[in-house]
Amino acid sequence: MSTMIKPGAQRQLKNHTSFGQSVRNSLTMAYRGLLKIKRTPEQLFDVTFQPIIFTLMFTYIFGGAISGDVQNYLPMIIPGILVQTVITTSIVTGVQLREDMEKGVFDRFKSLPISRIAPLAGALLADTVRYTIATVLTFAMGYVMGLRPEGGLGHVAMAGVLVIICSWAISWIFAFFGVIARTASSVQGISMIVLFPLTFLSNAFVPVDTMPDWLQWFVKMNPISHLVTAVRDLVNQGTMGSDLVFSLVGAAVIVAVFAPITVRAYMRRT
């Protein structure tokens, strides 16, 4: 306070934030998210145990019935369970955002001359750590149970990145619920209602041709099915097809739609 403050009327200021500043602000907010995870590691319980438990459970329950034995089921179920687990994890993003926004610190973020999207984008970005943990553990479980991906490690890594990108995109939907909902538990409720049918009415766990025709129509349209197929192609054959393109385009569309409306809802909220 020893230095004199430059008078307000003499400052030259701009009324918009540049793209570069938005990225920098978002990264700083992501750093904040990581620090919070470091302070409360117990919030990683779900991403640690869910992949382990679900992978074991589904593989041994459905393995014999669907593919004859567990070993033959693994190439089918691991990509399915990976997508299901990681996307389910992204619900927590919305719930935590809701809790976070109720704290006074969000008032300060709003009063700072930072990009409006940064507090949201940063929180979502930090959560990719959670998706990464879930992805690595699911593949690790698959490997322990006997999955030997034909596609090789490189393609498995690509599949992992694909799932993380898509989950990040989908987390914008839950972030939107997080911003508009009144309580954290209602975010959880709405999100589960949306996500449960989407993940189960897909090809994640069973072959599509065993389903009735009208359901097949939906399952084949379901973006989750395309993502699961893209991951299977990468993991089992090391190939990239239209499903991969469809998944990435879908992710981009979700972000393009939900990021602006989420930021807008966030700005409105007082």
Partner: protein
């Protein structure tokens, strides 16, 4: 530069200019046509009880809330049309500390510094500097959960000063602090002014406004009911108030008449406690009053002179106390000299 030149000259002198600000929540008009003009380099106090609309007004000026009516400018920049510019000119310290509970003091300041565009090393340096200045160095690494209320407020204020904003909003900066911590906060606020900042603070305490503010606006039910310098306001209230407790409850009516006749002011009365409260403009008159009471055969159980409280400011300005139920029927509003609204 061209933008600055275009502005009319007088707007340069005002850090804040608000005209007819309105904010409605449901059917509650929280802020109902507030006008404020805050001169650059001054401390401006907004005084009012809980729920008067102080915080809502500040939140609108700080771009946190969109006004439903009226307009406001900060250093000539409209808070609705140019919010991002306004945000570069202000620091906001909330009623509830707006810092991150789960992080340490250093981490909080580093993150805010980084968000304001400081580099990694600069941010760390700035955090250390501010922690040192606010006496928080020892607690720098501890999580905020273990911070006392005073430490939290100081950190909150430190966070508001990172960008050296020319205008600082302090929303009840000392509510809930012990007297020693409150004095420290006051010193800090005074130093801010010396460095050229403008401060708008809200408070429930007349003493705080008295100690710090150059000008005061009194807000009640979303309206500015009085505005002026501390001296103007005080002269309208009387510098202190006289409290009398009569020995015998049935004397209270007569005692009150005597007080009102001799001091020529409205009084408030609490019958259960047999207590009469009156603004006291001149201590000299008390002598006359006491003689008159003795002559009337009224004996007093207790007599004290107290500095005016917010309640008395309200009594004299609005004609009612802070709480509706304490408003005495006979207390008529008196004309406030120097009132500009």
């Amino acid at each position: 530069m061209s933008q600055i030149k275009k502005q009319p000259l007088q707007s340069k002198d005002w850090a804040i200019e608000a005209h007819g600000l309105v904010k409605v929540f449901g059917d509650n008009r929280a802020v109902d046509g507030v006008d404020l003009q805050v001169a650059t380099g001054s401390i401006y106090g907004v005084l009012g009880p809980n729920g008067a609309g102080k915080t809502t007004a500040i939140r609108m000026l700080a771009t946190l809330l969109r006004p439903d009516g009226g307009s406001a400018k900060v250093f000539g920049h409209d808070v609705v049309k140019e919010p991002q510019i306004v945000r570069q000119l202000i620091g906001v310290t909330g009623q509830y500390a707006s810092v991150d509970e789960s992080l340490s003091a250093t981490e909080n300041l580093v993150i805010f510094s980084r968000l304001l565009g400081l580099g990694r090393a600069e941010a760390r340096h700035k955090a250390e500097e501010l922690l040192e200045e606010f006496g928080l160095t020892e607690a720098a690494k501890r999580p905020l959960k273990n911070f006392s209320g005073g430490m939290r407020r100081r950190l909150d204020l430190a966070a508001s000063l990172i960008a050296q904003p020319p205008l600082i909003f302090l929303d009840e900066p000392t509510t809930g602090l012990d007297p020693r911590t409150r004095n420290q906060m006051w010193d800090t606020i005074r130093r801010l002014i010396q460095s050229g900042s403008t401060v708008l603070l809200t408070t429930q305490y007349l003493e705080e406004a008295d100690q710090l503010a150059d000008r005061i606006a009194v807000i009640d039910h979303g309206h500015v009911v009085a505005e002026g310098t501390v001296d103007e306001l005080k002269s309208s209230v009387g510098t202190s108030s006289l409290h009398l407790r009569v020995e015998n409850l049935r004397d209270i009516g007569l005692a009150r008449q005597t007080v009102e006749r001799l001091l020529r002011v409205p009084t408030s009365i609490s019958a259960e406690a047999a207590k009469i409260t009156a603004p006291l403009a001149s201590a000299d008159r008390v002598t006359d009053l006491l003689i008159a009471l003795r002559e009337a055969g009224i004996s007093l159980a207790e007599l004290s002179v107290q500095k005016p409280t917010l309640d008395e400011v309200f009594l004299s300005i609005t004609g009612h106390g802070v709480e509706e139920k304490s408003a005495p029927a006979s207390a008529k509003s008196i004309q406030v000299e120097g009132q500009t609204v």
